[in-house]
């Protein structure tokens, strides 16, 4: 798995766009909307190498913060000058409102690409990049508000360990979110999807990234991955409550969500 991603890292984003015809951006946006993070949230994005989720998180929190500040300003019409000046001093440097995202990936190359992207797009504050294994996270217990793993969990050898680690590092009340390819229930769509996956994607892989085998592996790993209900049961086994899932594009992709309560 490591070698697959080593070779794939640089072309990762381009391949994502061409494979999913750009829809993966929509999927990630939907994930962010579902998370609905408020300023001050600490996010851990696992297997998030090139930073897609992290950047979306920062954008979302930034605009939420702006709205919050605007609301505060409206309130300020009734406060004394003293109180207003105090609050301006607090808010001045907090455009993100203390929110932070830690991007953790097992692969150095993916992290490198992610850091370059961040620099290129102008993301500087609130971001950290950590090398780590999802089955054994280098973090303390009860640290994060939200744990996300987008298109990463199918590459983990022991999914149950990754889920247990997720449970461990989340604060009480914290949320686990998993965005992953899943089982298509509609038979007609399923056949079209199979056709597309096995015929078109490896070809694209060869043409764009010069790597047929990696993308063949990708498609096969998607087929091997447990379907929605099974993954839900696994998440519950790790200790999460209020677990449910949302199918996107009738099952091509699913978002699973659970809470540590």
């Amino acid at each position: 798995v490591y070698q697959v991603f080593e070779s794939v890292a640089k072309k990762y984003d381009v391949m994502n766009d061409s494979m999913t015809l750009g829809i993966h951006r929509v999927w990630k946006d939907i994930l962010m909307h579902k998370m609905n993070p408020s300023p001050g949230t600490l996010l851990l994005d696992v297997a998030g190498g090139t930073g897609d989720i992290a950047f979306r998180f920062i954008n979302y929190v930034r605009s939420a913060r702006e709205r919050q500040l605007q609301r505060k300003l409206k309130h300020h019409q009734n406060l004394s000058w003293q109180e207003i000046s105090e609050s301006y001093q607090e808010d001045k440097f907090k455009s993100l409102g203390d929110s932070q995202v830690v991007v953790c990936d097992i692969n150095k190359e993916m992290l490198k690409v992610g850091k370059q992207k961040a620099q290129h797009l102008g993301y500087s504050e609130g971001l950290s990049w950590v090398l780590g294994n999802a089955e054994e996270l280098p973090f303390d217990d009860d640290k994060f508000d939200v744990y996300t793993i987008a298109f990463g969990i199918r590459n983990v050898t022991r999914i149950d360990l990754a889920l247990q680690e997720a449970y461990r590092v989340l604060k009480p009340g914290g949320r686990f979110l998993c965005l992953e390819f899943s089982h298509v229930s509609n038979p007609l769509l399923s056949r079209l999807y199979d056709l597309y996956s096995f015929q078109v994607i490896p070809v694209l892989g060869e043409v764009i990234a010069g790597d047929w085998k990696s993308y063949q592996y990708l498609v096969e790993s998607i087929r091997r991955f447990p379907p929605q209900e099974e993954l839900k049961a696994m998440i519950e086994d790790a200790g999460f409550l209020k677990v449910d899932y949302q199918n996107l594009n009738s099952g091509i992709v699913a978002i699973h969500s659970g809470f540590k309560l």
């Binding site: 604060k171 914290g174 409550l241 677990v243 309560l261």
Partner: protein, 293 residues
């Protein structure tokens, strides 16, 4: 099937209040909905994680106490804690997030609820209705013990509606927002349920024993009075809402007179239509001008 859990859970709050209230009285409307809701609690059992010897809720202790209560109880606690942040953040997921924080939970716990704040509002409404029931119950006890005079019907209705509307005062600035959210299609069943059960309550304590068409007439009329008074209150800037109470007095007097005419059915229809039209106009105004106050 699990994905469907949201609607039954929201309904569960309403049904809990319904069951508590209708336990004491037999109501033709409520009992049929009781049968629907009674099946839900059994679905809820598998949700409780069996941790520890005995599921007793021990209060603010530590993390462990959360394991001992059901998810629903925890959600109620979060929503109650969130109410104190409503004046600042409005009826939003942010208020719920702040509430969760005060309980020692992560702000992400607000993700358990709908992002438009519906559950928070429904929770608040059902809490107010419960408080009203308790108030009316106490008053009734005093009358039964001979420590207070039994009020004439119009006075009783006026006091009950005023008491219930006064509970909105701390949140009055953001209440128009709450009203418009309650009118969203996916909330209407729950909010309508809460409204009708509250009106039922008031009439029951007012001593309504009717089993004929009058039952519906009285409910419709009082619902109209309540809704229009609530809307007037949104736009009232007089000291201690005097104008609202005066409006209420007039409406109740009108209703009493209406009852004496022969055209009861027609008046019911008119009252309901007036109430709805008034509601629609004011809510659309409230939506277009969010910073009314």
């Amino acid at each position: 099937v699990r994905c469907q859990l949201y609607p039954p859970q929201r309904a569960l709050q309403a049904s809990a209040v319904l069951r508590r209230v209708s336990d004491e009285q037999k109501e033709p409307l409520a009992s049929s909905s009781q049968q629907q809701f009674d099946s839900q609690p059994t679905d809820h059992q598998p949700e409780k994680e069996p941790r520890g010897p005995h599921p007793s809720y021990t209060g603010q202790g530590g993390q462990e106490s959360e394991d001992y209560e059901s998810e629903e109880q925890l959600q109620h606690r979060i929503l109650t804690a969130a109410l104190e942040f409503v004046p600042q953040h409005g009826w939003t997921a942010e208020a719920i997030a702040e509430g969760a924080k005060t309980l020692g939970l992560s702000v992400a716990a607000a993700g358990m609820f709908h992002s438009d704040g519906s559950e928070l509002i429904l929770h608040f409404v059902s809490q107010c209705n419960t408080k009203l029931s308790e108030l009316l119950e106490q008053e009734q006890k005093l009358v039964q013990l001979g420590k207070a005079q039994k009020k004439p019907t119009d006075q009783f209705l006026r006091d009950a509606v005023e008491a219930r509307l006064r509970m909105l005062i701390p949140y009055i600035e953001k209440w128009p927002q709450a009203l418009s959210i309650l009118l969203l299609p996916h909330n209407i069943p729950s909010s309508l349920n809460l409204l009708t059960s509250m009106i039922d309550d008031i009439w029951q304590y007012a001593g309504d024993q009717s089993t004929d068409f009058n039952w519906y007439t009285r409910r419709a009329v009082l619902t109209g009075i309540y809704n229009t008074t609530e809307l007037v209150m949104m736009q009232d800037s007089s000291p201690d809402f005097e104008e609202t109470w005066r409006f209420l007095e007039n409406r109740v007097a009108d209703a009493m007179n209406m009852g004496n005419t022969a055209n009861q059915v027609q008046s019911t229809g008119e009252a309901v239509v007036q109430g709805l039209v008034g509601a629609a106009v004011t809510v659309s105004d409230a939506e277009t001008s969010p910073a009314v106050r």
